[in-house]
């Protein structure tokens, strides 16, 4: 049975749709969002693209930059972005993987300078098809997964 989404539409802000369930909270973490006004999170909607369901995130009164939304591609490459202004979709945005990522991912190598000596966390894109990034310090390449997200 079809059912109406029970996520309120917003007047101004950013809507992130097609996040695979249950990654909505991780997307919030990647974006570094905290006390920035009203955010609505919907988890586990039916989705043709995502058999385990999709999450939706609506951030009110905040238009995310391209740099910010591209970070979402690290864990949800199929997510779509709508920028809403005055109740209308102002921009439909595709996301692409950032060529460099700072402070978001942790290197899984325990003997890496980022984990042992306090070097800043930096990765460079190695392969966009497999979402593989290479640590600038220990130079190991890793396929990104949600476990690599740095805790806030």
């Amino acid at each position: 049975m079809a059912r109406t989404y029970k996520v309120y539409s917003i007047e101004n802000g950013t809507v992130i749709d097609h996040i695979p369930t249950p990654l909505a909270l991780k997307v919030i973490r990647i974006l570094g969002l905290g006390n920035e006004g009203i955010m609505t999170i919907g988890i586990g909607f039916n989705s043709e693209k995502h058999p385990r369901g999709k999450d939706i995130l609506k951030i009110e009164n905040r238009e995310l930059s391209h740099e910010e939304t591209n970070k979402i591609a690290l864990i949800a490459p199929d997510a779509t972005i709508n920028i809403i202004k005055n109740g209308k979709v102002e921009e439909k945005r595709q996301i692409t993987l950032p060529s460099e990522v700072r402070d978001i991912l942790s290197c899984p190598n325990p003997n890496c300078a980022t984990n042992k000596l306090g070097a800043g966390k930096r990765f460079l894109l190695e392969n966009k098809d497999t979402v593989t990034y290479r640590c600038v310090y220990c130079e190991r390449a890793t396929v990104v997964n949600a476990d690599m997200l740095t805790p806030k």
């Binding site: 003997n111 980022t114 000596l117 306090g118 070097a119 600038v136 220990c138 130079e139 190991r140």
Partner: protein
């Protein structure tokens, strides 16, 4: 023209084909004795946060032969790091005392981090299992010295190709030239997929084989031997079996071809029999000695004493 003045030597990944050629050519000049005294007035710090007598002595010898002076730590227990000073503070401080920092550290990425903190160039003398670029430079120089070229060579790499950082960096470097690579190792210690992917991307011809005798079919110019470490095997009997198969003797050399050159980053245990040492094919001691002119050249280039 490639200039190295003020540059850090951290990883072979930072190097281009022209960079590698430049270092090899400069090493040739130094070895021929056409450049001397180019480190006069320069002070080099050797910071060895893990012991490595051979590499440290080779750097110190390179400095002294080029007219520079050298100080440093050879033992991490003697450093203020053991008193709780952070690595970052140690590097910032020492970089004000010298013209180049040579660093060895057990943590992977320590040299990269040091290069970002230091006001003077940093040369990586080994960071954990990651990089040891000066070894790669001396390997390339030794190949060029033996064959007069760095391309169109058939190079076999044998032993622990999975964990050996030397062979990873060397494969990356040789991929910048047009060579054919034959990887000879037990199936459990094969060259990792990410290195093979890089070779594929560079259209480099390579082959994985497990049988040393099969290498005889390839008419190799060079066999680069590395040690297979016992601790990689859970079962000591399995190690003995593998170690016995991948062992170079006079007989193996004759089977591989009388003109083949045998290299090894040293130290060796028993993967090359001592009877091979006296054969003209054995160039591993020359290779080790080439560490001096190679490190002289690198120090000269980053300080601007050599151009």
């Amino acid at each position: 023209m490639v200039s190295f003045r003020g540059r850090n030597i951290v990883s072979i990944r930072d190097m281009s084909h022209n960079d590698l050629t430049k270092v090899v050519e400069t090493t040739e000049l130094v070895k021929r004795g056409e450049s001397s005294g180019f480190l006069k007035g320069k002070t080099i710090a050797t910071l060895f946060f893990e012991p490595s007598t051979r590499t440290r002595l080779s750097f110190e010898s390179a400095v002294l032969k080029s007219g520079g002076s050298v100080f440093g730590i050879a033992n991490p227990k003697a450093s203020s790091e053991s008193k709780g000073e952070s690595f970052a503070d140690s590097i910032r401080t020492v970089s004000g005392y010298c013209d180049v920092i040579v660093i060895r550290h057990p943590v992977e990425g320590a040299a990269r981090m040091a290069s970002e903190l230091s006001s003077t160039p940093v040369i990586n003398a080994g960071d954990g299992a990651n990089q040891h670029p000066t070894q790669t430079f001396l390997d390339l120089f030794t190949m060029k010295e033996s064959f007069g070229r760095l391309d169109n060579l058939k190079i076999g790499m044998m032993g622990d190709l999975k964990y050996g950082r030397t062979v990873h960096s060397l494969a990356n470097a040789l991929a910048m030239f047009s060579n054919e690579l034959i990887f000879i190792s037990p199936p459990s210690l094969q060259m990792p997929g990410h290195i093979l992917k890089e070779l594929d991307d560079g259209n480099i011809r390579y082959r994985n084989i497990a049988d040393l005798e099969e290498a005889g079919d390839y008419d190799l110019d060079i066999l680069y031997v590395t040690r297979i470490q016992k601790e990689r095997f859970g079962d000591p009997q399995e190690y003995e079996k593998v170690a016995g198969i991948y062992r170079i003797t006079q007989e193996t050399i004759n089977m591989l071809g009388k003109d083949i050159r045998v290299m090894h980053p040293l130290p060796r245990v028993d993967e090359i029999a001592e009877e091979v040492d006296s054969m003209p094919n054995a160039i591993y001691f020359t290779q080790a000695h080439n560490g001096i002119p190679t490190r002289q050249a690198l120090l000269g280039l980053v300080t601007g004493g050599l151009d």
